[in-house]
């Protein structure tokens, strides 16, 4: 039943997407490097990267030393190129997921490789969707980077041949439960990037801008104010958490059909619950006076760590009814 040729094309699409994302990543990096005042950044290696993709130094002449108060908005050609490339990579991932699904006549949500592929696709699509409403070009590098890493792991370590599913996975709930789970993981991933940037930015904001190293100046200038970063992270979490709750409920409904009870304390269930509890704590911490945004964000980091454990450790090393990693 499996169409080997289509599966092969799906892999080629993944490789192409990786190539496109690599160039997009360089372009995003060069755009960020250009955020620093020219007098400081003139000799930095990042500008050489900018020259690679055809975007020259954006600012000319003396610029104010205080970052973030650049009077004239700089031209961001590299960021534009990077956004277009990210969109192209997103299309390639959609094609890869579609061909992978067609090659086995089912939703491509059956093993580690397919989760990673569809998850990366969602990350890119969500990023593009956000970018249509707001300027998030500063985030591009920190979205495309993790996507590239995930795809690299997917095609090498997690790779599983296209094949049919185990009987317990043959259900409409596979599409409902796993799609939403993957989608909310994609949101949590983007939120995690923003949370990390928030920590970096709060750390930089308390430092004296005049005595900062060159790298710190560039990063500080490239990132939005910490308050806005924190708001963005919270906003994404506030969408991801209900979706994760839905994942938990849909999983319970499916478990009831396939295994006889809605909750079996299977390792995957346990970790899904642990993640839910950690992010619930994050949302509570955000609403509690006396908890700073910073300490709440540490909870979000722990939560994402739990997601990584749930995906990489539980699937492969723990014995349970979710042992379908195909590895």
């Amino acid at each position: 039943m499996t169409n080997e040729t289509l599966a092969l094309y799906a892999n080629l699409a993944v490789y192409s997407a990786m190539a496109v994302f690599t160039v997009a990543m360089i372009a995003f990096a060069s755009d960020l490097a250009g955020a620093a005042p020219a007098s400081l950044a003139s000799a930095s290696g990042a500008q050489k990267a900018a020259a690679l993709v055809g975007a020259g130094p954006s600012a000319t002449g003396p610029a104010p030393l205080v970052p973030g108060e650049d009077p004239a908005p700089r031209r961001r050609k590299a960021a534009g190129i990077a956004m277009v490339l990210t969109g192209l990579g997103g299309l390639l991932l959609i094609a890869a997921a579609a061909m992978r699904g067609l090659s086995v006549h089912r939703a491509p949500l059956g093993n580690m490789f397919e989760f990673a592929l569809v998850g990366s696709m969602f990350v890119v699509l969500v990023f593009i969707a956000i970018s249509l409403r707001r300027d998030v070009r500063w985030l591009g590098l920190f979205v495309v980077g993790p996507v590239l890493l995930t795809l690299g792991l997917a095609i090498t370590v997690f790779y599983t041949d296209a094949s049919e599913l185990l009987p317990s996975l043959k259900s409409v709930w596979l599409v409902i439960h796993v799609t939403v789970a993957t989608f909310s993981v994609a949101l949590f991933t983007i939120a995690f990037s923003v949370v990390i940037l928030h920590l970096v930015k709060t750390w930089l904001e308390v430092q004296d801008p005049l005595s900062m190293s060159r790298l710190k100046t560039v990063v500080n200038a490239a990132l939005p104010p910490s308050r806005s970063l924190d708001r963005t992270a919270y906003g994404i979490h506030a969408v991801a958490f209900p979706l994760w709750t839905f994942t938990l409920i849909a999983g319970a409904i499916w478990a009831e059909q396939a295994w006889g009870h809605y909750w079996n304390w299977d390792p995957k269930e346990v970790w899904t619950f642990v993640i839910w509890v950690i992010y619930a704590a994050y949302l509570h911490a955000r609403a509690t006076t006396g908890w700073s945004a910073r300490s709440a964000n540490y909870l979000a980091i722990v939560g994402f760590g739990a997601i990584l454990v749930n995906y990489m450790v539980v699937n492969v090393f723990f014995v349970g009814q979710h042992s379908y990693s195909g590895m």
Binding site: P225, G235, G260, D266, H284
Partner: protein, 568 residues
């Protein structure tokens, strides 16, 4: 004793110290337990407490793996066992965490519901004098008198008349006082929040109901056989403490055929992976009901009222005939063997109690696709029936010493001796379907007639599951409302200015609300338009707020702490 010890005895020496007393002490403990900080701590503790259950094997899931772990870890194993690491989810410490959390949840929901009930019926607070001190604010100059402008503003906030299609920021509750208006919207945020937490309590109750009144039974059913839903028919039966075991739903299930498909085309790791299990059954909901043919699949259970029959396992049951020396049939039946690996190398025992003078026991493996492995002996290379064979050792003696109960899949050989062949080695039978072999010493013969399959059925009754689902869905709805709806207060003041009117607007939000500024802007624009003038001087609150980020932050913190002082 120290002075700050809290007890009921009066303490004359220290009059300045307030005496808490028992009631005060309890109240203090209750406050601590139901505080947000404690709830957060308990939530994190719950997350940490749940983890060991995913790392160590659990008795309620796989008792065999627990026994195996204990056998391999003789020093640490017993300690982990004492600490409940193999029964995490029924251990006292885990129960302590979730019971405290449950109490904390109730202690949160009840007082907050009271506060919310009052807030829903109360009027918004009066408008502050200086709206420009609020985190978001702006003003506009319009034609007409202040009273006219105020009337327009009221219409806009009520969302009536011309403004009904605009209604920026939702529906507001209004309070008028002199030349000012106070409006509040987003009460559903707190309603959703309370619904979420109440629904979680419902889910916990539903789980308790399922635990107390639910039961689970497992039965291995060889094709061609049937079973009736009574306790005695089950291989294992695990009832909740309040289950009426006499009142089980009186259905019967017969499995006529079980079709099993394994992956054959792939040559990699997927080879032999199960692809489809389908059981063809005939069922009767009660002894008087008509027989119905039904298909039972892995994701498609059979339902009898609230009881469901799930297909959770399958395996092989070799049909074996044992005859005595005179050729009389001592036993002829299909005996289920338990699969041990992905290729269904299965283990089982055949107990011939009617053999004499000594009872006979046959113990060994069934191999659906037999080959001899150098290291581990008879093995199977595929889960399907490609080269079926039985490899058995034969024992004689006492099958049930002192009548102790024992597993049907193993032989208790302490009172039995293994039969030897003519060379003195242990006797090993290797039989293929249709083959017969004579046992040494005229003990009779063993015939391997053929292979049948068995279906592993799990029968579950959980009266709490519908309630759990309802609670979970309600929790999700409440969660979405509490995260997406904004609680906002909007204040409007009007004052005359040289024959015209200045309309000032200011807003407060509970928590983060990046959209507040633009909503105020929309409100102001709508008021200006409906007052039939062109806005002459609109000070956009948005630009204002982005220019003075730091001062805005300060005032919004003040604003939110004011509304959040009750709890979370």
């Amino acid at each position: 004793m120290t002075q700050n010890r809290m007890d009921t005895r009066p303490d004359e020496s220290d009059v300045t110290q307030p005496r808490l007393g028992t009631v005060g002490m309890l109240r203090w403990a209750w406050r601590q337990l139901t505080s947000m900080r404690t709830a957060l701590f308990l939530l994190l503790l719950l997350a940490i407490g749940a983890v060991p259950g995913s790392i160590w094997p659990q008795r309620n899931i796989d008792a065999g793996r627990v026994a195996d772990y204990l056998a391999r870890h003789r020093s640490t194993g017993p300690w982990l066992d004492r600490l409940g690491f193999f029964d995490v989810y029924s251990s006292p410490w885990f129960a302590a965490i979730y019971l405290l959390l449950f109490v904390s949840l109730v202690g949160c929901v009840v007082p907050r519901s009271k506060i919310h009930w009052r807030a829903m019926r109360a009027q918004p607070p009066p408008a502050p004098q200086h709206l420009e001190r609020l985190p978001e604010h702006g003003q506009v100059e319009v034609d007409g008198t202040p009273e006219e402008a105020l009337a327009v503003a009221r219409e806009v906030l009520r969302g009536r008349g011309l403004a009904s299609r605009l209604r920026p920021g939702g529906r507001y509750r209004l309070r008028s006082e002199g030349l000012s208006l106070s409006a509040e919207s987003g009460y559903l945020r707190e309603s959703g929040n309370l619904l979420f937490h109440t629904a979680l309590i419902v889910v916990i109750i539903a789980i308790a109901v399922g635990h107390l009144f639910g039961w689970r039974g497992d039965r291995i059913l060889v094709t061609g056989k049937s079973f009736a839903n009574t306790i005695s028919a089950y291989d294992t039966f695990d009832p909740g403490p309040w289950v009426d075991t006499e009142g089980l739903s009186p259905f019967t299930v017969a499995v006529d055929r079980l079709d099993v498909t394994f992956e054959e085309r792939s040559t990699g790791a997927q080879r032999g992976a199960p692809r489809d299990f389908t059981a063809y059954t005939r069922t009767q909901a009660s002894p008087d009901a008509p027989r119905v043919s039904q298909i039972l699949k892995v994701n498609g259970p059979l339902k009898f009222g609230g009881t469901s029959v799930f297909l959770l396992g399958n395996g092989y049951a070799p049909v074996i005939t044992v005859r005595d020396g005179a050729g009389r049939v001592l036993m002829h039946e299909a005996t289920p063997f338990l699969p041990q690996d992905a290729n269904y190398k299965s283990v089982g025992a055949i107990k011939v109690t009617s053999a004499s003078p000594k009872q006979l026991g046959l113990f060994g493996f069934f191999l659906p696709s037999e080959y001899i492995d150098e290291a581990s002996g008879p093995s199977s290379f595929f889960p399907g029936l490609k080269n079926p064979a039985l490899a058995l050792g034969v024992y004689e003696g006492e099958l049930y010493p002192q009548g102790r109960p024992q597993s049907v899949y193993t032989l208790s050989t302490e009172k039995m001796a293994q039969l030897k062949n003519s060379k003195g080695d242990p006797l090993r039978l290797l039989l293929r379907p249709g083959q017969s072999t004579q046992l040494p010493g005229g003990r009779g013969s063993v015939t391997f007639d053929g292979v049948q399959r068995w279906a592993g059925l799990s029968i579950r009754y959980d009266p709490g599951k519908a309630l759990a689902l309802g609670g979970a869905v309600a929790a999700l709805a409440g969660l979405i409302a509490s995260l997406m709806i904004r609680r906002r207060r909007v204040f409007i003041r009007v004052r005359p200015l040289q024959g015209r009117t200045v309309v000032s607007i200011g807003g407060l939000a509970k928590g983060e609300d990046p959209g507040l500024g633009s909503i105020l802007e929309d409100l102001l624009t709508t008021i200006a338009q409906l007052s039939d003038t062109k806005p002459s001087r609109t000070e956009s609150s948005r630009t204002e707020s982005s220019r003075t980020e730091s001062s805005r932050t300060e005032s919004s913190r003040n604003g939110s702490s004011e509304t959040e002082s009750s709890r979370n």
